[in-house]
């Protein structure tokens, strides 16, 4: 039972991280119908920015809580800036190009950003400081859930609630939903579509950065290539839940987290990534619209 609970919580933690990244995918897809291949790289850049900020602040002798908060903020700010710039350079000029063009541009961007970090920082794995403090009161349950797991779960939950409220109740959220439904109509009604798209990228990138900081501090090391696999898996999660749907992305991420956690725990850890991809292929074959996605009938 304890083993089951351990796997359950580790799956939940994984799933939460996937959810933070998957939301960026799903929001961007919902609005401009693009698979933002460089999203995983934004997450990686967030983690690197946090690492650099945290090391600097530690050397300057700032206390631990302030380091956590400030480096998290730095990660969000810079990841958002990168997301904004990437959209402007690589996607905006291709808004009306054939479907394949922006996707290829995105793959190029992803390769570019990976190598940019590789060349300007390091090709090796670097240790990431444990930014999240240990809670003494969690000691009895240590074998089931650690304090970083708890922090990850709580912060993901808070972020989800905030995001849902933003999309449901604010003006800009309304504009986002309108743009997702019909870009042309939204434009006619006076919504600045370019601004909405930019904002979506900024939001999604900041969320990915939160995910990057949390997971890096949980695992304890990062390198320039972590974005690729995390990105693909988060995309899997988004598709699983039904791409374009925010609750779907969360549900899909949790399911994917549990699948990986239980499959590696009970079957074999060698094929950890194969389970994720197999799940993706199966879902797309049997339910291409995802679990919560709506099926669009193609019209002539």
């Amino acid at each position: 039972m304890e083993y089951f609970l351990e796997l359950f919580f580790s799956g939940l933690t994984r799933g939460s991280i996937y959810a933070l990244i998957a939301l960026g995918y799903t929001m961007v897809y919902g609005i401009i119908g693009l698979i933002n291949f460089a999203h995983g790289e934004i997450y990686m850049i967030g983690a690197f920015t946090a690492l650099i900020a945290a090391s600097l602040l530690t050397i300057w002798g700032v206390n631990q809580i302030a380091v956590l908060v400030l480096s998290g903020l730095a990660a969000m700010v810079w990841a958002a800036a990168y997301g904004f710039t990437v959209e402007k350079i690589a996607y905006r000029p291709l808004r009306h190009a054939p479907r394949l063009s922006p996707l290829i541009s995105a793959i190029g961007m992803s390769i570019f950003l990976q190598n940019y970090v590789l060349l300007s920082q390091t090709p090796d794995f670097v240790p990431f400081p444990a930014l999240i403090p240990d809670f003494p009161w969690l000691e009895p349950y240590r074998s089931i859930i650690g304090s970083s797991d708890l922090i990850i779960l709580v912060s993901t939950a808070v972020v989800m609630v905030l995001l849902t409220m933003l999309i449901k109740y604010t003006r800009i959220g309304k504009a986002m939903r309108a743009t997702a439904q019909d870009k042309q109509m939204a434009l006619l009604l006076g919504i600045d579509v370019n601004r909405v798209v930019s904002l979506t990228f900024v939001l999604g990138s900041a969320l990915a950065a939160i995910g990057g900081v949390l997971i890096a501090s949980h695992i304890g090391q990062i390198n320039f290539a972590i974005g690729f696999l995390a990105g693909i898996k988060a995309f899997t999660a988004a598709v699983l839940g039904g791409i374009g749907s925010v609750p779907g992305a969360v549900l899909g991420s949790l399911l994917l987290g549990w699948t990986e956690s239980f499959a590696t725990g009970y079957i074999s850890s060698d094929y950890e990534d194969v389970f994720a991809f197999a799940l993706l292929v199966l879902v797309l074959i049997f339910r291409p619209a995802g679990l919560l996605g709506r099926r669009h009938n193609q019209k002539v």
């Binding site: 710039t85 190598n115 670097v126």
Partner: protein
């Protein structure tokens, strides 16, 4: 002018801010030292400033620039096409005699990428199915030669068709489930499929010898004759060249055939294509199978050329490179794909000074190519019936 200067300064400042943490700061956490690399930041700022100014200049003076562009089409380049082709053929034929084995090896891999590009061109360029896991079929070909040779001692020529057929079978196996999927979902599933193949090869030690790979794969023999290394390299070059010519011939014939027309119709509009009575299932599957079989053939050649394979040669990055060749060469265009393959594989080899920046430039070229020239180096000209001109002198 002042507004443009202001804008350029703004862009430069933005990029300097953007690259501040990662490019300018390098922290050594163990020794607790910080290296501030301000020169990098200054370079980025300067480059952004200049590029923005140049861009603004182009936007402003583009009308003047385009009118002064010489019109080359009137020169009748088509007249020299035969000569040009003959020259290229001659160069390709005597290439091994002129250059060292090192150069021949590089040219061989460039040609391999050209064939891979042409194979993927069937799937992506003609049939419009975005396949991000193409490298999986390449791996199937390479491993089928390596394993059949290891276990049963089968030679290169026996394995070549087997590799092609096996890859085609894998293409059909992948093709069946994804028939119903739309463009971008298809891309992701094929990517997942490619990764699954690689991960299985990496982890199933009993079958594929895991990450350590398979060594001592024999080079291709000439009628049972084992050649010395230098000659074997030459021989492989000619084999790949032949395969390339065969590919160009077959792909061109396929494109103009009934099935090729069906692919193009499918790419342009799936529903209209079905309404015209084209069997969607069969058309898509043949595209997958034929595209994959080229990858299988090149895979066998790759294993024979390098004599050693491991899963690290079949990562997503390879798929991305092949896709970039197809797209930047011009989807559906044979000449474009060949030119793009040669440029992309040869250029980094000869610009060794930039070796570290190879992939960085590669990514940048992919983005820049899409933004500034989405139709590729050689845009695909749509075949169309030309109406005879009416009432212009001739009667």
């Amino acid at each position: 002018m002042l507004a443009e200067l202001k804008k350029a300064i703004g862009v430069a400042a933005w990029f300097m801010f953007l690259t501040l943490p990662i490019l300018a700061v390098k922290v050594n956490a163990i020794e607790q030292t910080v290296a501030w690399r301000w020169t990098n930041l200054a370079l980025v700022g300067g480059a952004a400033f200049l590029l923005t100014l140049v861009g603004a200049f182009f936007v402003r003076y583009r009308p003047q620039l385009t009118t002064h562009w010489p019109d080359l089409s009137g020169l009748g380049l088509a007249r020299f096409k035969g000569w040009l082709l003959a020259l290229i053929a001659l160069f390709a034929a005597v290439f091994p005699a002129l250059f060292s084995s090192y150069q021949i090896n590089i040219m061989t891999s460039a040609l391999m990428y050209a064939v891979l590009g042409l194979g993927l061109n069937i799937v992506v360029g003609l049939a419009g199915l975005l396949d991000l896991g193409y490298v999986a079929f390449y791996a199937v070909g390479a491993y089928s030669y390596a394993l059949l040779n290891y276990h049963f001692g089968l030679g290169f020529w026996g394995c070549l068709p087997i590799g092609g057929v096996l890859a085609a079978l894998f293409g059909i196996v992948l093709g069946f489930p994804v028939l119903r999927l739309r463009g971008d979902y298809l891309a992701i599933v094929t990517l997942g499929f490619g990764e699954i193949i690689r991960l299985v090869l990496e982890n199933w030690n009993a079958f594929s010898f895991g990450p350590s790979g398979i060594a001592n794969i024999p080079r291709p023999g000439l009628f049972g004759l084992a050649l010395p290394v230098d000659e074997a390299i030459c021989y492989t070059y000619y084999l790949v060249l032949l395969l390339g010519l065969l590919t160009i011939f077959v792909v061109n014939r396929l494109r103009d055939s009934r099935i090729g027309r069906a692919w193009i119709a499918l790419r342009e509009d799936e529903i209209a294509c079905q309404a015209m009575g084209i069997d969607k299932t069969r058309t898509k599957l043949t595209a997958f199978a034929l595209g994959a079989s080229w990858a299988g053939l090149v895979g066998v050649m790759f294993a024979a050329k390098t004599t050693f394979i491991n899963p690290a040669s079949f990562t997503f990055q390879e798929s991305a490179i092949i896709l970039a060749i197809v797209v930047l060469g011009g989807m559906g265009s044979t000449v474009g794909v060949v030119i793009a393959a040669l440029i992309f594989i040869l250029l980094p080899e000869y610009l060794r000074a930039f070796a570290d920046y190879r992939m960085l430039l590669f990514g940048a070229i992919m983005v820049g190519g899409m933004v500034f020239r989405p139709q590729g180096i050689i845009g695909n000209v749509r075949r169309s019936y030309k109406f005879p001109e009416q009432g212009t002198g001739h009667d």
